[in-house]
Amino acid sequence: MIPLGIVALATLAANGSRQLRYSAVALLGVSLAANVVTAGQLSVSQLAVEGCGALVACGEDPGWRLWLATIVAAAATAACFATLRTASSETVTVPLIGEDPSGVTAQVAAFWLISSGVAILVTARTPVRGSLGAILMITGVELLVRLLTVPQLGLSLLLGWVEVVIALAGGFLIVNERVVREN
């Protein structure tokens, strides 16, 4: 539960931040907390891949407040969890700290990140907001994929690369936009 809370708060912080450095720290928090949520199910190599992707992603994202996006994200998270959760209706234990065998915490975190990302991307006008939304979304997607019984090494590597390319392309666009504005 605690990592889930950190994911939620860090997402809010990244969404509301006005400066690049605070946004970067918040995104690092999102990434680390998201990894902690599913850390029990990860191999060292997967953690390394995810960590590298998150570190690269963190360098590129400033942001500004858009609380409307957050409200939409909160509503969408509840709706997604009610409709699409894969955990059975039996009693599910959600420990405050430690492993999450039922995957409920990871799924809530994933739905929250994806909903936040969608809300931010849909309302984004600049590459800064676009990159922020894209990185939050791909982090949520990674959480969902980790819950599957599929070849994890190849998929983790692939999604790690997607995250890196999103971060680099977002950074490239931010730099270009500034060049255009200055001219």
Binding site: L84, V118, L121, P127, S131, G133, A134, V141, V180
Partner: protein, 452 residues
């Protein structure tokens, strides 16, 4: 491992081209050799073999080989044009990396991996879209493209992941919801009119070669990936059971087909004409898929592959005509061979016989009539509007006449257009070799639709 050799060669070559990108005399031939090697590897790879790489299963299919060959040939022509006629140093590594991801998409068998690699490929051209940032507004187009790809890509992967993890006792509506999200995700990635509002901006602002890379290589790859993911994900039976999903595909397809054709018929310039024609053809292909029938699937895939190749030729010709005629409107007098290439590329875009575009369009319109007469009539109307658009372009190019026929200096786009035309003509006269691997895939699709 030979199955993975071609995409791996291109991926390594892309890194090499990135290092060499500012040495145009080296990076051009280097990229062309890499494409030729990859093409040889694709053709040498035995069919219906499997392999495993990083726990992911790979398969060499007939459709994969066909589409890979067309994509590599298109990339070869694009690189040749950029090297000889329109130097843009960042295009070479981008094109090779796009080739690597496209070929990877065509050999992977895990839907999640296919989607992930596709998103990677669609994000790569962002760099080539913003070339010459001081001269146009391409940053805005690239930003919108980035947003659409990130949104559609993440939604699609999430939908696939949830579909794979849901227990079977879930209500059917849950699967339907996920299929709808998947279709919407692909509509965001593809140039489907209801969502693709940045297509016009891309067409107007992005360099022609980058535009051809997107619409000629990545869009056909995305469409093939869509059909493959539907086949491999096990979601097709849910689509059959619920008519609403089929209706959604029909709706998006018809809107794109008619809307794209209307816009093409009144397109203000050559690039927009090509892009809107492409959107219209994609819509028609979506309708073909939505019929969930053999001829519909064959027609859709054949049409999309041919449209990608002919759009590339037309876009390169449009770029040459614009450069030679600038600052005035493009006219044939300035570059007669490029103008001819544009016109003959238009024949392929409208599916005129005897070119290779004809069988695909014929199948689609035939099955659309069988499915619903109104749908068939709508597709014929879209074709007629495309003909109007292409005729308007011919009049605009040749309306002032050509005083003296000559071959313009550096007629690269004209020659490329002629090569594509000859290839489509030969393919149109002997369509069996082209359609057979697509028909084989259509069988797989229909088996997945109604599993025993």
């Amino acid at each position: 491992m030979i199955i993975a050799a071609a995409p791996l060669v291109l991926a390594v070559a892309a890194c090499g081209a990135f290092v060499l990108r500012k040495r145009l005399r080296i990076v051009g031939p280097f990229s062309l050799v890499a494409i030729a090697v990859a093409l040889a590897l694709v053709l040498l790879s035995p069919l219906d073999t499997t392999a495993t790489l990083l726990d992911l299963e790979l398969r060499a299919s007939g459709l994969g080989r066909l589409a890979s060959s067309v994509i590599l040939a298109t990339l070869f022509l694009l690189l040749l044009d950029v090297w000889l006629d329109e130097p843009a140093y960042n295009f070479f590594p981008t094109a090779l990396a796009v080739g690597a991801t496209s070929l990877g998409v065509l050999v992977l068998t895990a839907p999640l991996a296919i989607f992930g690699l596709l998103v990677l490929g669609l994000l790569l051209p962002v760099g080539s879209f913003t070339f010459q940032v001081h001269r146009n507004r391409s940053v805005e187009a690239a930003t919108r493209h980035f947003g659409f790809v990130a949104l559609g890509g993440c939604l699609g992967i999430a939908a696939l992941a949830l579909a794979a993890s849901l227990p079977h006792e879930q209500p059917a509506n849950t699967f339907v919801l996920l299929v709808v999200v998947l279709v919407v995700a692909f509509a965001l990635l593809l140039a489907a009119i209801p969502f693709h509002t940045h297509a016009a901006l891309l067409a107007g602002e992005v360099p022609p070669a980058a535009l051809a890379l997107y619409f000629g290589v990545l869009v056909p790859t995305t469409f093939i990936a869509f059909v493959e993911i539907l086949t491999l994900s096990g979601l097709l039976p849910a689509i059959v059971q619920v008519v609403k999903v089929q209706d959604l595909l029909h709706g998006i397809g018809l809107t794109s087909a008619i809307g794209g054709a209307f816009l093409a018929s009144g397109a203000p310039d050559l690039r927009r004409l090509v892009v809107y024609s492409m959107i219209s053809n994609l819509g028609a292909a979506l309708v073909g898929i939505a019929t969930l029938s053999g001829p519909g699937i064959i027609g859709a895939l054949a049409s999309v592959i041919v449209t990608g190749a002919s759009a590339s030729g037309q876009l390169l010709a449009a770029g040459t005509l614009e450069r030679r005629s600038s600052p005035e409107r493009p006219i044939a007098r300035k570059a007669p061979l490029a103008a001819l290439a544009f016109v003959v590329g238009g024949f392929a875009m409208i599916g005129a016989p005897p070119l290779l575009g004809f069988p695909g369009r014929f199948f689609m319109e035939l099955i659309a009539y069988q499915f619903a007469p109104l749908t068939g009539a709508a597709l014929v109307l879209a074709t007629l509007l495309l003909i109007v658009g292409q005729l308007r372009a011919v009049l605009a190019l040749f309306g002032q006449g050509v005083e003296r026929w000559f071959i313009e200096p550096r007629p690269v786009a004209g020659i490329i257009g002629a090569v594509i035309f000859v290839a489509l003509l030969i393919g149109g006269i002997q369509p069996d070799g082209f359609l057979r691997p697509i028909a084989s895939f259509a069988d797989e699709f229909l088996r997945a639709l109604r599993p025993l």
